[in-house]
Amino acid sequence: MINQDSKILLEVKNLKAEVDGVEILKGVDLTVRAGEVHAIMGINGSGKSTFSKVLAGHPDYAVTGGSAIFEGKDLFALAPEERARAGVFLAFQYPVEIPGVSNSALLRLAYNTLQTERGLEELDPLEFDDLIQEKIKVVEMDPSFLGRSVNEGFSGGEKKRNEILQMAVLEPRLAILDETDSGLDIDALRIVAKGVNTLLTPDNAVVMVTHYQRLLNYIVPDYVHVMDGGRIVRTGGKDLALELEARGYDWLRVAA
C-alpha cells in the first residue's frame, strides 16, 4: 500500500558491489517505505539476487560504493546478525539443510535472541510451543516438521514454507524474499503467498526478487523494478510486470 507520508524503512543510494573482484551491482537506488510491497524483476545475472544478499550481509559480496540506510542505521556497518536483530529478514532462494538442529529449536533460539534485543522476556519451550502452533497455521505446515532437522529432507515447497514460517516468527520490519517462488507448484505458491500477505502490516515492507510475474498475481506489488546490468533500469506499478510477462525483458534491455 503506497502512502507517501509513511516512514522510510530503507534507502539505498548508488549501491555498488562485487564478488571475487567482478562488479555485479553498478549503482542501485531504491527507497522502501513502511506498508509497501516492491518487486524486483530481471533476467538471470541482472544482479537482483546479489542485491538481496548484499542487503542481508552475505560474506561473499563486497560493497564497493554507495549506502543503505535502514531505519536511520547504516546497514553496511552492521554484521548480518545485527541486521537481523534490527529487523531485516532474507528468505533464501536455496534454504540450507542443517542436520542435527531441530526446526523448533532454531526458531526458539532465533526468536529469543530477538526478544532479548527488544528488551523482552525470553520464552521457555512450553510458551514458545503455544506461539509456534499459531504461526505454523500461517503457512499450513504440519506440526511434525517442527521436530525435524532444519530443512533436512524437505521438498522444495516445504523449504520455502519453512522460510516464511521463520519470517512469521521473527516479524521483521523488512522482508526480502529471494526467488521465493522458484521451484514451487501452484498450491505451494498460493500457500506461501497467503502467508506473506497475512504478515503484511502498515508498519513493515516486503521486497520480492523474482524472475516471473506469477508470484505477483498472489502478492500484489505497489512498485515493480526491473534490474539489468546491475542497475534498476525501469520502475513502474504492477502493470509493468504484466507488460514484462507479455513482452519479455528485451525491449527494456535495448532501452538500457
Binding site: G57, P95, T113
Partner: protein, 439 residues
C-alpha cells in the same frame, strides 16, 4: 617410596609407574600379575617409531611422576550428583578404589551380577575370563593395568536386564600426580541383553594418569549396548584399552565419547568369533585447547557372515590434535562379511589438526566392504543462514558443532546421558572460546 622430583625422561616416568604398590590378589591372579609386570618392563612406553603410536605425541605425559594412590578421599553422593543416571545399577570407583557408599545395586534383578572384582576373585567365572582377551603381553599400558589394578567391575549378565549398568570411575585431585588403573570384566551369557555405561570422569581438575582395561565377552546371541564416556579432567591423561569378543549371532554396539583429558587414547579391539555377529561402532572425539585425543579401533572378522558398521567423528578446536585409526580385517574364510566404515571430521580452527586412517585388509573374496573419510570446516552457508536469523557468530558455530556431534550423541540409548553430554558439550565449547577447556 615416593619420588618428589619431576621425571626428566620418559624412562624415569616409566620407572616411577613401576613403583606402584602391590595389591590384593589370588594365586591364579598373582601369576597373571607377575607375568604382566615382566612384560610391562620389557615393553616400556611405546616409541614414536611404533606405527600404532606414531601420530600420538605423549611427551606431556612423560613430564609427570605419577604416584600410587595410598589413601582415599571420602566423597558424598552430592559430589558425583551430576554423573548419576537415574534407575541405573551403579558401581562407583574413586581414584581406582571401590566406593560402596556411592554405589547403588538396588536395580540389579535376578540374572545380573554387578560387583567389585576384589569380591569375586574366587568366582570361577572370573578366573575363566579375566585376562584372556586384553593383550597384556603386547601392550605396555595393558600390562601396567593388569599388574597394578586395585579393583574393578565385574559384570555378569545371564538374562535380559532393563536397568542400565553404570560403572562410574571418578578421579579427585591430590597434592601429587597419581596413577589409577580402572579395570572392567563383562561376561554376557548366551541370549542375554544389557546396556552398559563405562564412565571416566574428573571431579576437581586433578593431574592424574588413568590407565584402563576392559574385557567384554558376548556369548552366542547376546546383545550389549556399550557406552564409554571419557570426560577426565583437563590436565589428566587417559589411556584405555577395550577388548571385545563377539559370539555367534551376537550384537555388540559401542558408543565411545572422548571429551576430556590433556592426552587421551582409546584402543578398541572387537573380534567377531562367532558366525553372524553384528558389530556397530559409533565414536566421537570433541576436543579443543591443547588436547590430544586418539582413537584406535580394530574389527577382526574371523568367521563368516559378520557385519560391522562404524561411524567415527572428530571435532577439533583450538590447537588440538585428533587421531583416528580404524582397521577392518577380514580373515581367510570370513565369507559373506558386510562392513562399512566412515570417518567424518570437523576442523574448527586453523591450528587444529586431524589425522584419520581408515584401513581395510581383506584376505577373502565374497565380501562387501566400504570405507571413506571426510574432513571439513563449518559450512559457511549454514553459518550465514543462522546469522541472518539473528544468532551471533559464536552461537551459530556452537549450534552447528553441536549438531555435528549430535549425530553420535543422540544414538546413545540412555536419555539422561544424552542430555547431560549435550550440556557438557555446549559448556565446553563456550569455555573453550573463553580461553580454556571448562569442565
Amino acid at each position: 617410596m615416593t619420588m618428589t622430583s619431576k621425571p626428566e625422561t620418559k624412562e624415569q616416568c616409566f620407572e616411577q609407574l613401576l613403583l606402584g604398590k602391590t595389591v590384593k590378589s589370588e594365586v591364579w591372579l598373582e601369576q597373571i600379575r607377575l607375568e604382566a609386570l615382566a612384560h610391562a618392563k620389557a615393553l616400556n612406553f611405546p616409541s614414536s617409531r611404533n606405527d600404532d603410536w606414531r601420530f600420538t605425541d605423549l611427551s606431556a605425559l612423560f613430564t609427570h611422576g605419577f604416584q600410587a594412590v595410598d589413601s582415599y578421599a571420602r566423597l558424598t553422593l552430592q559430589d558425583i550428583e551430576k554423573f548419576i543416571i537415574p534407575g541405573a545399577i551403579r558401581l562407583v570407583f574413586v581414584d581406582g578404589s571401590y566406593a560402596a557408599e556411592l554405589s547403588d545395586l538396588t536395580h540389579a534383578g535376578t540374572g545380573v551380577t554387578v560387583a567389585p572384582l576384589t569380591d569375586r576373585f574366587e568366582d570361577g567365572k572370573v578366573e575363566e575370563n579375566f585376562g584372556r582377551h586384553a593383550p597384556y603381553k603386547l601392550d605396555a599400558f595393558v600390562a601396567l593395568n593388569t599388574n597394578f589394578f586395585e579393583d574393578g567391575a565385574w559384570v555378569h549378565v545371564a538374562r535380559e536386564t532393563a536397568a542400565p549398568i553404570h560403572l562410574l570411575n571418578v578421579a579427585t585431585k591430590r597434592d601429587n600426580p597419581f596413577a589409577i588403573y580402572p579395570r572392567c570384566m563383562v561376561v554376557m551369557e548366551a541370549a542375554s541383553r544389557a546396556t552398559l555405561i563405562e564412565d571416566y570422569a574428573g571431579l576437581d581438575d586433578g593431574v592424574y594418569f588413568s590407565n584402563t582395561v576392559t574385557e567384554v565377552v558376548l556369548q552366542d546371541r547376546a546383545q550389549l549396548q556399550h557406552v564409554r564416556v571419557q570426560r577426565e579432567d583437563k590436565n589428566a591423561f587417559h589411556v584405555g584399552h577395550s577388548s571385545v569378543v563377539a559370539g555367534k549371532d551376537s550384537k555388540y554396539a559401542s558408543f565411545s565419547i572422548a571429551l576430556g583429558a590433556r592426552i587421551s587414547r582409546h584402543t578398541l579391539h572387537v573380534k567377531q568369533q562367532g558366525e553372524g555377529a553384528e558389530i556397530h561402532l559409533d565414536g566421537l572425539a570433541l576436543i579443543g585447547g591443547r588436547q590430544i585425543a586418539d582413537t584406535h579401533t580394530l574389527v577382526d572378522h574371523a568367521v563368516p557372515r559378520g557385519k560391522s558398521v562404524q561411524l567415527h567423528k572428530c571435532i577439533a578446536d583450538g590447537s588440538s590434535h585428533a587421531i583416528f585409526s580404524g582397521k577392518i580385517m577380514v580373515h581367510v574364510g570370513a565369507t559373506g562379511t558386510d562392513s562399512a566404515q566412515s570417518s567424518r571430521n570437523l576442523l574448527l580452527s586453523g591450528k587444529a589438526h586431524i589425522d584419520t586412517q581408515p584401513q581395510l585388509e581383506i584376505f577373502n573374496d565374497d565380501v562387501s566392504c566400504k570405507h571413506g573419510a571426510t574432513i571439513g570446516q563449518i559450512d559457511m552457508d549454514a553459518l550465514f543462514f543462522l546469522k541472518s536469523r539473528g544468532l551471533s557468530e559464536e552461537r551459530a558455530r556452537n549450534l552447528l558443532t553441536h549438531a555435528f556431534a549430535a549425530e553420535i550423541i543422540d544414538k546413545i540409548p540412555v536419555p539422561s546421558l544424552v542430555e547431560s553430554l549435550g550440556r557438557t558439550i555446549l559448556e565446553r565449547m563456550n569455555g573453550d572460546r573463553a580461553g580454556g577447556v571448562s569442565k
